[in-house]
Every structure is written in C-alpha cells, then in structure tokens.
Amino acid sequence: MENFKHIQTAHCENGVTVSLLKHNGVEFMTEPLAFGLGSGLFYIHIPFMKVNNGPAISFRTMPGAIFKRTCKSLDIKVERKKFKSKIEAQFFLNEKLNEGIPVGCQVGVFHLNYFPKAYRFHFNAHNLIVFGQEDGKYLISDPVMETTTTLFPEELEKVRFAQGALAPKGQLYFPKTIGDITEERLRNAINKGIKRNCRDMLHIPGGIAGVKGINYTANKIRGWRDKLGERQAALYLGQIVRMQEEIGTGGGGFRFLYAAFLDEASEILGNDKLLNISDQLTKSGDLWRDSALQMSGIYKGRLTSQKDYDDCASLLNEISNVEKEAFKQLSKIVIK
C-alpha cells in the first residue's frame, strides 16, 4: 500500500484509530480527539487481582473501547473478527491487504521482536497496523514506534495468537463504511464522549473506579509497608508508576492527553470554559508526576519510613480531589 502513512502516537490503540481513520479520509482525526471521543480517561484499582505480581491498576478505559466508541460516535461501521484457526486468520488478513485495506491487529508483546527486551511482558492488548507484504514479510506500522517495521509471517502469527489474559485470538479490525461526517455530528460526538467520561470518573458504583478509585489506592498504600514488608511494598509502588508513565500514556497517566483533548474540543466547539477544565487536568497530570517522583524515592531505597508512604497516599488524595472537581465542573458545562 503505497499511500499508507505511518503516524506515531503515545498510545497504541489511539494510534491505530487515528491512522486507520485518516487513511479512510477522516483527515481531522488526532490522537487527543480519538482519546476524548472514546472516553479514554479512567482510573481503576481491581482488588484481589495481580498483574505481574503487583496491583492491577489502569489509568485508561478497557482495551478496544476507544476504537469502538470513536468510530461509533462518528457513525463509522467497523468490521472486527476473531479466529479459531491460525490459517484462516492469515488468509483473511492477506485477503484484506490484497484489497488494499490496512488492518488493525491486537497482539501480545512478549514475542514482539522489535520491542526492547525490558518491555516484553505477557501483555496481550497491544495494537498495530499491518499495511502490506514485501519480500515475504508483513509491513507493520506500530504506533508507538518512530518508524515502520516488518514481521515474518510466523512472527506475526505468534503475536496474533499470544496466550494468557486478554488473548487476542487473531483479532483484527478496520473501518468499513464511512459516511459524511458533518460538523453537527462531530459536536455531538465530542459531547457524548465528555458525558460518558464524566460518568466513568464520577458515578461508577463501588469504591474502586474513577476518582473514588484513586482514594482506594491511597488507602492501600498507607497499609502496604506494614502488610507486605518494605521490599514488596516498594515493588507495588513501582508498578503504579509503570502503569502511569510507561510508553503509551503520553505522561501523567493519560491526564495530559485528556487536557489536550479538551483544548481541541474547546476550539471545535468555540467554548472557552473547557480550557479551564483542561488546566485542571494538566494540574492533575503534574501531581501524578510528583507522586511518581515521591514513589521512586521509595523503590530506589532512598525513602523508607511510614511517613514517606503516607506522603504518597496524601498526594493521591489530592489528585482525587482535583479530578473530582474538574469532572464535576465538566459535567455541568452545557455543550452546544
């Protein structure tokens, strides 16, 4: 596909969404916009579950949701397919490539050879685009990479059929039909994306999701040093920082990305009030970075006392308040 353009983004799913939509003529799509239309910002701390021997925490909505919601809100029909058979999965992919259609694929990272070894865990919700074949290799556009890369068919098969939690099962997806996207539709889509994000951050019952979830983690942190011992507790904090800052978040646990979305939304809608909320999200992102710095003092062994853990927790309480206020105000802004 000669006309396919690789686009690097912070997060893989945003990137696949942006690239595939732009390729299909939705020129105005940007990463912040895709993230906002997909109501990407979130916080959840799932109790009793472990990921890589640490706490299960996420700063964004569930995998797959951003592509799905963004397309739906713009009335774009999507084809999504999972496979039982590896042969069928490859056959279908080749067919689409021959038709000139770049295809989004969900893959596992562990066997993804072009990733640095230190990043290769059994994480199965990574996304990339296959946009052609050349010299017996597939041409790959991985949104977190600066340039395009390639994979041999057997390598691609391995990552498409990675095993474990969220196993991709060869899953692929691409936009099928795109209608005329009017300004009216875009405005409504932004409105809907914001409303849904306010709901997710403020109104999910139980205390583990949204702004309440951040306080839940804060309370846990206060008890970790006594309960787990210093070594394990420090590792848990390291896990939070990784979920928050590792490649894909755009920094500050996606908060800067959402602030950037509100800036764009303000321009599109001509509503200055959104800029003020954007500033509050920027502040929250900065506070998340501060808390990461504080936590790093602990896992580097420089800080060891209970008070240092309490300081981390207090920062998280403060963040929770900032985000609660921001989303409360956001939900009251009438968008037209």
């Binding site: 390291g238 990305l257 950037a260 896992y299």
Partner: protein, 132 residues
Amino acid sequence: MKKSDLPQDKSDLVNFTREVCYVKNENGKYEAELSSGWDVKTDALNSAWLDIENRIEEAKNLFLSGEASPIEYYMELKLMDYTVLAGYTGFWKWQIKKHKNPKTFNTLNDRKLQKYASAFGVTLIELKKPSF
C-alpha cells in the same frame, strides 16, 4: 507539564524508539513531543526486573534441591503465569500445579513434556535438565 520540563533521560528505549508525550509549549498550547525516557520510570522497570531475577534464582534453587520441577523455573524465566502457560500448553491450571511437583513431573511422557518445551521455547533435553 511544560515542554522544557520533559525529561530526556537514557532508558531501555535507546536505539529502539522514543516515546510521544503531551506537553505545553511556550504559548501554553499542547503539543506532542518525543522523549528518550525518564529516570523515575526506568528505575521502576529496573526494580521490577531485579525482582524477576530474584524469583528466577529462587526457582532455580528449588529445582536444584529437588523441591520443584523445572516447570517452576521456566515459568519464572519466561515470566509466565498459570493462565499464560495453560493457554500455550492446553493443560489445566491445576494440572500444571501438579506438574510442578518433581515426582509427578518425572512420570510425564515425552508427548506431554513436548507441550511444555514448545511453550517455553526450549528443547526436550533443556526442559528436563535446564542449564543455568
């Protein structure tokens, strides 16, 4: 975060890629900017790997003292949990738990062992007798 505050520290991403971060430029507008890394999270990643190495070492010692089969060791070495290994081998989690016992492990035929070997990406001989 201001553009001027974006860290450009050395990290494992060197020679692979740089990552996109969202920062505010001089005019107070958001823009995407590339970063080579941030020490705070590099340290988090390093401490996670240090823990993994400890776990591998513990599993190795359990194997050497005859308390655990090589499956324990290879699971740690390949960062696998039960869900991952069950997916690759087709065994149930409770079967894998049993196979971690050296006595049970020694009764497995080569056909079953081959499933583990393939999942770990090693030969049958390497599976039975890991070289450290």
